[in-house]
Subunit: 596 residues, 2 copies
Amino acid sequence: MFLPCLLSLCSEEQQAYWVPAARSKKVLGCYAQTELGHGSNIQALQTTATFDPATDEFIMDTPTTQAYKWWPGTLGRTANTAMVIARLLLPQESSSSSPPSYKDMGIHNFIVPLRDLHTHALLPGVVTRDIGPKIAFAGMDNGCLELHAVRIPRANLAQRFVRVTRQGVWSRVEGTHSKAAYVTMMQVRAIIVVHSARELSKACTIAIRYSAVRRQGFDDSKTGSELQILDYASQQYRLLPLLAASVGFFFCGRAVLTLLAETEDALLKGRKGQAEVGALMGRAHAALAGLKSLCTTIAADGIEECRKCCGGHGYLACSGLPELSGNFLQQCTVEGDNVLLTQQTVGYLLKSYIKWRTGGPVLDEECQYFVTAADGAHAEGLGEGGKGLRDEPAVLSLFSRRAFATLERLALRLQSLTEGEASLSQAGAWRRVLVDVMFVSRSHALYTVLRHFAAGLQSLRDGNDVSGVGKAGADAAFIQVLERLFFLFAFYHLSKEAGDFLELGLLSPEMVARVRGEVEILLGEVRPDAVALCDGWDWDDFELKSALGRWDGRYAEALLASAKREPLNHQDPVDGWDRTWQPQWKVEEQMERARL
Amino acid sequence: MFLPCLLSLCSEEQQAYWVPAARSKKVLGCYAQTELGHGSNIQALQTTATFDPATDEFIMDTPTTQAYKWWPGTLGRTANTAMVIARLLLPQESSSSSPPSYKDMGIHNFIVPLRDLHTHALLPGVVTRDIGPKIAFAGMDNGCLELHAVRIPRANLAQRFVRVTRQGVWSRVEGTHSKAAYVTMMQVRAIIVVHSARELSKACTIAIRYSAVRRQGFDDSKTGSELQILDYASQQYRLLPLLAASVGFFFCGRAVLTLLAETEDALLKGRKGQAEVGALMGRAHAALAGLKSLCTTIAADGIEECRKCCGGHGYLACSGLPELSGNFLQQCTVEGDNVLLTQQTVGYLLKSYIKWRTGGPVLDEECQYFVTAADGAHAEGLGEGGKGLRDEPAVLSLFSRRAFATLERLALRLQSLTEGEASLSQAGAWRRVLVDVMFVSRSHALYTVLRHFAAGLQSLRDGNDVSGVGKAGADAAFIQVLERLFFLFAFYHLSKEAGDFLELGLLSPEMVARVRGEVEILLGEVRPDAVALCDGWDWDDFELKSALGRWDGRYAEALLASAKREPLNHQDPVDGWDRTWQPQWKVEEQMERARL
Ligand SMILES: Cc1cc2nc3c(=O)[nH]c(=O)nc-3n(C[C@H](O)[C@H](O)[C@H](O)COP(=O)(O)OP(=O)(O)OC[C@H]3O[C@@H](n4cnc5c(N)ncnc54)[C@H](O)[C@@H]3O)c2cc1C
Ligand SMILES: Cc1cc2nc3c(=O)[nH]c(=O)nc-3n(C[C@H](O)[C@H](O)[C@H](O)COP(=O)(O)OP(=O)(O)OC[C@H]3O[C@@H](n4cnc5c(N)ncnc54)[C@H](O)[C@@H]3O)c2cc1C
């Protein structure tokens, strides 16, 4: 995070100095935003940077325990420099009184040296600590930071977008966009979406390979060989939709990277107007927030479900799944808590909705579906027009209409809560509807994943795929397998969330029953290709680090080999056994002797 | 498990010898059932116990790697004796041929000495190992066991229910019930239900207390103090239904313990006939399987959700939540995998259903609801009859009708799959419908939890509560708070699983919308009592081991104190920094010197 921040937040002069220093690892940087007391509400961060005109410096302070920076990776023992997010306090022009009074300019970014670059000793006024053991990442010294009147030169304010003059006057750098600083955050979120696909696919690979070699339970005959556990419909139902999700997230990740590249391009190359850049930023921000939230939620739950699907052996570290899961869990919290992110996406959707309903400008791609979804008259339903259930446009239309209807319901609800007699404030009403907000964001994001999934399939069919999937030879049979995954993903979620579709009148009860039946049929169809699809992700044994997910299927040998490596086994009886268990005997023997 | 097994599986003579030895910790026992290759399918275990008439011994063998015992707690380094589950092989009477042929008598229990009781050295032919690191329980040496022609006396067969004579003839002990051996397993499952309530309540206590002191996000004013995160509807929606679940599981646990006590009583005191005991066992077995599966699933997911609700700090070990979660996760797998258990419950329900439909005997308490649920005509719906939504009987009736309707649908489906031309075998059809089986079991168990929850409330209202809840003073206000939790739990699940109710025509779309609204209202009503309800569980800080869930709310101080204890912080710069980071400088300095 430190290097990307230098690149996105610092001026060219600053970058000329800091970037090579960071690249050469002389400057070991960390990104220090979160405080003990505040993570999500950045506006409430308490660390201060007070400008001192007398020395032309900022004085950095963490005034309370709550203000201590808390969490930054490498801050504990490794980093010698931090990008610190702090409130900028400028002396009031009018004030020559003592004590001087300050104006709070809000959150800004500062490069703060923490340690001597040669001796690695902490600089005066700086205290850092490792914050202690975590679920995973034992090797990462996430740290805490106290700053007590630490002085840094004025030049250490990150200056790409804002400046403070020698006199302590603040200004925005001309031609820069106020939201441009969010680009780094969006980049990281896009990478997390890609990461969700990859980590989930690893867990699926382990669990599906294992389920194909693990045999448990007799065939009808009750003798002879047992069934592969992957042949139980319940095991398929737990695993195969996750495999489908990993593929959907893959296409989705590709789409958001493209969207982001466009946005950065517009932003950095300055080829578009402020308004246009702003719109692009807003759109990318809303899209990424909702997708990051949905994809990491499904992937985190999914990795754990893969682990459970391995039975007891999934509880062993050597299965690889506990580590995969523990590492991934943080993704639901970092870079925007998953629940909070739903507010950001829905805030944007509502704004777009209201603008559009009141005759505003054309909708962007994220919201384009409002038009068709609102036009119920032209909606051809799933399974209508003789096309059967496997009808991509009908599936997309269905999910888009669900998303739109829940959004519209929310908009109306907010309106009625803020109007009339016992009306609430905007913020009060918002707090009241936060449960709906979660579900609207989820509905929108699910539709978006499906949209990107379908677009990915289309590009394969058109023969112009650029993702590398095509390279594997996107012949018709392969595309058909991916299409099954698309429908499996869609119908799995449709049947799990059937309540919405039924309540909104988008599907009939009979149709829901048919969709449920179709999920079962699809599970059976995907089953024979499941292992090959996992192999297609191309994880090697070294990357999976799993005794259960080995390419050769020899899990029993791998489990045994792993047990043999356990240090506890190198001595028997273990040291100290005589001090812990033997005394029981000793006491008894003494008593017996006493009795003699 | 070892001691309970001695008590339930061994004859009185055997108990007289082994029980005192185990109680005095001379005999350190473990329960060795699971093998590397088999857990769920006990019928396929491969360890053998071959009777040798020549020496009057059993010869114990684990013939393949897959047969190695794998997982038993304390087996690795601690246990000196194991209760080993193995196939009993008896020489065929007719066979005087060499090699002799054996008859496989199926799974039996054997007491196998593993180590010398005095020196703790492994006995000849025995190999044990610790199986390596796990998600949690680092202190427990779950182990693996190889047995190579290990001889044990014939007397070491657990003989409460079966005997083998000196001549190698097998017989069942008269007057014992064939299923009696399952009692231990049921006891453990009942304890797990109780445990689900307790562990979930711990996680809720941590997360809810923290949510009441954690402030994040401004009130409308955008200045001044921030909101408690527990005041966001989304946070309430994630946490309060879990608190309600913990209370529901508490009542449920009490009910299953009572049921089990009845069953044991009937079994052990021999006051009832074989058929009656069999019925009671079947009923308890089915009830416990489904409840263990549902309660541990909800509790495991719920503990993790509580962790996520604490944001980044929930990822720290000192929050107490990672350990709580890691420890609990095994409960979804041990003592019957949660998915497999659904088959056991539904198998029982289907049998009862078919017997009943074909004019069979009266239904037991678990299935009593079939009668009213099938009788649609007399069903008074939720919100009908002017009672509003908070109508316990109507809620119970609704959930029972859902469970019944899904069960009936499954029964019809199985019938149609096994009849007609392209019909499947019973087992083949069963494998096909396993997804439905999961959902039917869940629906039944959810109804059962609600039934026990409502019965618990009724006993409080009647003033004859025996659980200890009443002791806290079951006044009307307290009962009202618990009633809110009942409705919150019910309506939360109703709205999440609304698809079923709508598809089955049990609720109208308007009603589902009302139920959703009611969930929000209930969240607001429960909110003010949430912390007090947690306090009511009476966990002290020592038991919670959580920096976030402290009784005094001082989480910031606790986090900081915990960081200060981290050993990494006792030295700065850390040892070895010069070998890892400094070289960057060295290289550069040398280059500069070279240039001079
Ligand atoms: C492994 C790891 C690495 C990290 N690395 C870094 C790093 O390098 N640098 C750095 O600066 N930080 C880092 N962080 C911190 C991370 O960015 C924060 O944890 C994250 O932003 C969430 O903030 P929080 O922990 O304060 O949660 P909180 O905001 O306190 O959230 C707690 C709960 O309250 C809810 N909530 C909060 N506000 C609202 C609201 N307005 N409406 C509804 N609900 C709300 C949340 O949904 C959540 O359930 C790291 C964290 C972890 C776990
Ligand atoms: C912490 C811990 C402690 C333990 N302690 C002990 C102990 O002291 N003594 C002991 O003997 N054992 C112990 N065990 C082992 C435990 O009992 C088994 O792990 C458990 O019975 C599950 O069996 P399995 O691991 O073989 O899973 P499997 O049966 O291999 O299950 C793997 C997957 O296949 C599915 N599956 C299997 N069969 C079917 C079927 N017929 N239909 C549909 N799906 C199916 C399951 O749902 C699961 O998803 C312990 C395990 C753990 C994790």
